[in-house]
Symmetry: C2
Subunit: 317 residues, 2 copies
Amino acid sequence: KGFGKYGPAKGLPEFRTKLAEFANKNFDGNVNSENVMVTPGARFGVFLAITTLLNSGDEIIVIEPAWPAYRQCAINAGIKVRSVKTTLENKWEPNVDEILSCINNNTKMIVLNYPNNPTGKILPRKLQDQIIEIAKKYELYILSDEIYSNYSNAEWNSILSYDYEKSIVTQSFSKSHSMTGYRIGYLISNQKIIDRLTKLQALCLTNVSEPIQYTAMKSLDDNVKNNGKIVKERLTKLEEICKEMELEFVKPDGSMYIFARTKNSINTSELSEELLNYGVAIAPGIGFGDYNEFFRISACSDIKTLIEGMDILKTSL
Amino acid sequence: KGFGKYGPAKGLPEFRTKLAEFANKNFDGNVNSENVMVTPGARFGVFLAITTLLNSGDEIIVIEPAWPAYRQCAINAGIKVRSVKTTLENKWEPNVDEILSCINNNTKMIVLNYPNNPTGKILPRKLQDQIIEIAKKYELYILSDEIYSNYSNAEWNSILSYDYEKSIVTQSFSKSHSMTGYRIGYLISNQKIIDRLTKLQALCLTNVSEPIQYTAMKSLDDNVKNNGKIVKERLTKLEEICKEMELEFVKPDGSMYIFARTKNSINTSELSEELLNYGVAIAPGIGFGDYNEFFRISACSDIKTLIEGMDILKTSL
């Protein structure tokens, strides 16, 4: 198929056209192939956006708990992270005034990630609207990591639906198409931003592996709705068990996780290490910010395995 | 095959073990799997090495003409490039005193690239020894880009054969196994350096696409000697034509290129643009440093196509 040649840094044109169509259909976007760039996973998209659009000394707002990569990529580029902490008591909803109080002349970007990893939260429409208004008013980039959009069990609206020129959406085949090890994702933004990010991708990578691009392009035709249904069933079962165990958590609106704590707070880093000895992996809350008493349970295994894992967890608590 | 999961940032252990064996056999190395790291192409290896090991304000020595990525990656990271110019008159051999005169307290790395892109030069053993001695004396990193090692038509010694702890070798399946579009290469260095580079790779990429790693691992068993033979035949034919055309060049010792100029110097950037209209691609010398009068002819097509291309070039000169 001509994989022996260099390809365009933005990605295969045919693939980008299909991704734009997919985004317009599924994310209420209004984009064309020039707004799309193929990346080796959403993580590289996050790296490119933060590294290219911000400068050392700039500030970025991250709503926590959050996937660690946003903070890691910012620190790696000399960018200051301001975190807005959310709490279980407030249903993991950020306070608008708190966001406003973080903003100063150096603030250049806010990161959104809904459905959220690790809490499963989806923002209520009105709250999301308010945050977008703030971003527009202060001309902040919005980096919206939407890789769990195929796992939404409540009303979910892509940031693309706001048609804001300083928004950058990351997407990944890892979650929607269970292609984690393939490392393929994409970015959607306005053409100027995409062109800037493409320059760094060209410098680092030349292009994303083309056989993987073809594989992902083919998988776009697959019906992946069932993946969302399966994960929802597992989450429902997990919620049931968590309630029986009297864990504290907010029922997730989406993604693949339950972020929970026990009634008497424990050191979840030690707990997660102990559980590994029994073949059970949970993610301690410390990785997602200052949430040491929480841990993340993932719905990535089948229900039988999940029940076994939760039984082991129960005896360790 | 379990591609649906994240893999180790350094690369698949089985693949790294095979790469270490391959390096010991073919490059006179003395390494094990902990010295090897899989990257999405040699370019990302160059990016990782320069970005991770050097700091803004450090200096790097690049012997020119050179593949543009070394300079690009350095400038992207705020690193100052000192170029040591070589000339056709001196057979593209760098002057040792000139290298010495570039070195100051900020100098942290020297880039070597033999067999060279674009000149096809391989350094005489004694000159290479002298440069390694300088690097050792001043404790410079040596970034040795050896992706054309399978295309050596003269005695060639990998930097690995010197067993110097501050050397980093980049290799690529793009050239040796004609897998350019797959984007897969690897780095060989001491474990401390590999571990540092792995951290940035984990941050950027999580891991290199695993199906591509498997494909490359399988291709390690292929006999690729014939690729070298084919390119050598093409180069010999190209040399013949270049001589007939009275172009000035040094007979290449390896790689896939002839770097030539006309007797009366011309603007090769304009020439290359003009030739594109006729379907002929040459690379103007400006891309490789300040070599505007030179152009690079590539032996990547079959001999019939090369002859046709050279005929078109002749009428354009």
